[in-house]
Symmetry: C2
Subunit: 372 residues, 2 copies
């Protein structure tokens, strides 16, 4: 019930019979082993342990002019939390990676009424005096520049703005998607549909390009209406709508590749409603691999290495923070590979589904790309 004031370094000093500064040197000084005699060191350590001493973060931050905090600005997403599992994973992994290096993660994504718009969010972090900022898919280049121009270290992940020179950590969709196509072709599929997103974002484009390249390499001719793109964002309801369109085609595909977990979830809904069994009547592969393992059946999926992305990004950021010698001439660009996790949503096509008939046309040709 007492309110035992937390011990300060002065308390430790008194108990150890040394000066307060000595305590500081022993407990946090870089050169403590050189500077301080062994006997003194031991006495200080013992006193600190005895009193349960821990340095006061605010005092330390004030003096060092470093908060020990890293700002995280997640990608803006609308909708329910579980429509955006990626955010949860990134949040957890970046927080952990930061903690492992002695930093605390301050996230600007939890919007409150007082904080609207990206400028306000950046300002929020700057006002918190974070030592650096991690951007996941910044809304604008200006937003990143505001941070960089302040002299604050910044790193961009997953969907970087190419027009701002910061280190980046991104993911290469190609290896995982190639493996996915190989897997499907190996099972006997030739009529494979793609559910994705149109638009200029390189990341979304890359998924389609990887699909196109992988199918072409395996000699599949994918008809244009097997490639269905939505104009809006990834979202469950879009996945459902696109899948309904696929099912309405005269020649159904035997497998669907969805360029995001939420599209795959929507596809699963549509297939369930239409009583098309997965994987017996339709194979389904998703990209992201966050929710996918929890569906029934658990989906075969192309996994993004979120933990590794977070770790590398935090490492790059901390390096910038702790290396005082200006920014490197050429900011580092880390690219991490995707990989395939085979689960239970893929199987050979049903006997009646003659893939060769379905696809038709010249084999080995490049799949047509639709307008939308």
């Amino acid at each position: 019930m007492a309110r035992p004031r937390q011990a300060t370094s002065t308390d430790v000093a008194r108990q150890a019979g040394v000066s307060q500064a000595t305590v500081s040197v022993v407990l946090s000084g870089v050169r403590s082993n050189i500077r301080v005699s062994d006997a003194t060191r031991r006495r200080v350590l013992a006193a600190a342990a005895d009193l349960g001493y821990a340095p006061h973060p605010a005092a330390r931050a004030l003096r060092q002019r470093r908060s020990g905090a890293i700002g995280f600005l997640p990608r803006p997403e609308r909708g329910l939390p579980f429509e955006h599992p990626i955010h949860y994973l990134l949040s957890i992994h970046t927080a952990r990676a930061a903690l492992d290096r002695g930093y605390q993660l301050v996230e600007a994504g939890v919007e409150t009424d007082a904080l609207r718009g990206s400028d306000a969010l950046v300002q929020f972090l700057v006002n918190r005096r974070v030592d650096g900022v991690l951007f996941d898919g910044p809304r604008t280049a200006a937003e990143v520049r505001r941070v960089v121009d302040r002299g604050l270290p910044a790193v961009q992940i997953l969907r970087p703005r190419p027009d701002v020179a910061t280190p980046t950590v991104t993911v290469d969709a190609a290896p995982g998607i190639a493996a996915a196509i190989d897997h499907l072709v190996g099972l006997g599929h030739r009529a494979i549909a793609f559910l994705g997103k149109s638009g200029a974002a390189p990341v979304d484009r890359a998924r389609l390009d990887a699909f196109t390249a992988a199918t072409a390499r395996r000699g599949l001719a994918i008809p244009g209406d097997y490639i269905r793109l939505i104009a809006g964002d990834y979202g469950l309801e879009h996945g459902r709508a696109l899948t309904r369109e696929l099912l309405a085609l005269p020649e159904r595909p035997t497998a669907i590749f969805a360029a995001s977990d939420s599209l795959a979830l929507g596809a699963a809904h549509a297939l369930y409603e239409a009583e098309v069994r997965v994987p017996a009547a339709m194979s389904l592969i998703s990209y992201d691999d966050t929710l996918a393992p929890q569906l029934y059946p658990p989906l075969t999926g192309v996994a993004q290495p979120f933990a590794a992305v977070a770790e590398r990004a935090i490492a790059l950021l901390v390096d910038q923070i702790e290396r005082s010698d200006g920014p490197a001439a050429e900011p580092e660009r880390v690219v991490l590979p995707t990989r395939l996790n085979v689960r239970r949503s893929t199987a050979p096509p049903a006997a009646g589904q003659a893939s060769d008939d379905v696809v038709g046309g010249a084999r080995g040709g490049q799949g047509a790309r639709p307008m939308a």
Copy 2:
């Protein structure tokens, strides 16, 4: 590219032609309107806006002896993030609620190798000098006492330790579960199974008790083998196993109530595997209602009011922090109701499923409770 040092209150003072103390009074003093002349106030405000001034959090914390941070110790959970969607929701909602009141949430759940065991996590928060701690289902009473004995405000939510006197915010399962049973009975179900968890935790007990009370009130006699409890924690694989047991019974139930979303997810897996269509051949209701809306079909579910829990809990905590006049004699206990969200996993039982035949025995009797 310049590194424009963030403006300090001294900068603002210089520009406004007043003393630094006056700036502080104007910008953060409680009695600023009384003390300072209008003309001075305006000049200070203008200068502050002009320089983009924001107070330095560390300096303020150091001086005020309050960090402005609230610690959050989530319930320990093993497994993948998406086996524990509740954590995500609580995390988001508490962070937002804290922010709305000017506090920052520091979460101790993101375990790093350096932090193992609850004592270390509590210590982590104390060392961070949080102004109060929010506990979700503390592992031990000692853990809470360590915080309380330090004179730190504490609040427990969802699964409080009754043996420590802190304010609590909990959820009453009964209204939602009663509504769920009424809904099922209204559809014509009489053979309703319960998937839950055994053990001494009041919260888990309460769900079963609410189910038993609600079915009894509607005159249903639930046979003992319709009530299936796992000894371990809630988990997808348990839900699947229990559901397989149900499906193996000579007289299958026509509806399943799962006492958590993860159990429901497991049940959905098992039903899918057994080709038992939901809701045509089996109705399914879950408790928690986090993942449930995203399944196919979206599950009818009993929703816990997580946002409200977070808001009330933060309010109680902040009240304690900002009211200096000791702890109230009787800590406040807030109880919030659950409610039913009807979706598409519930429907009348199929024609062949004669509930009355299935249940048998005396009607109106209380359902037997199994050993396990």
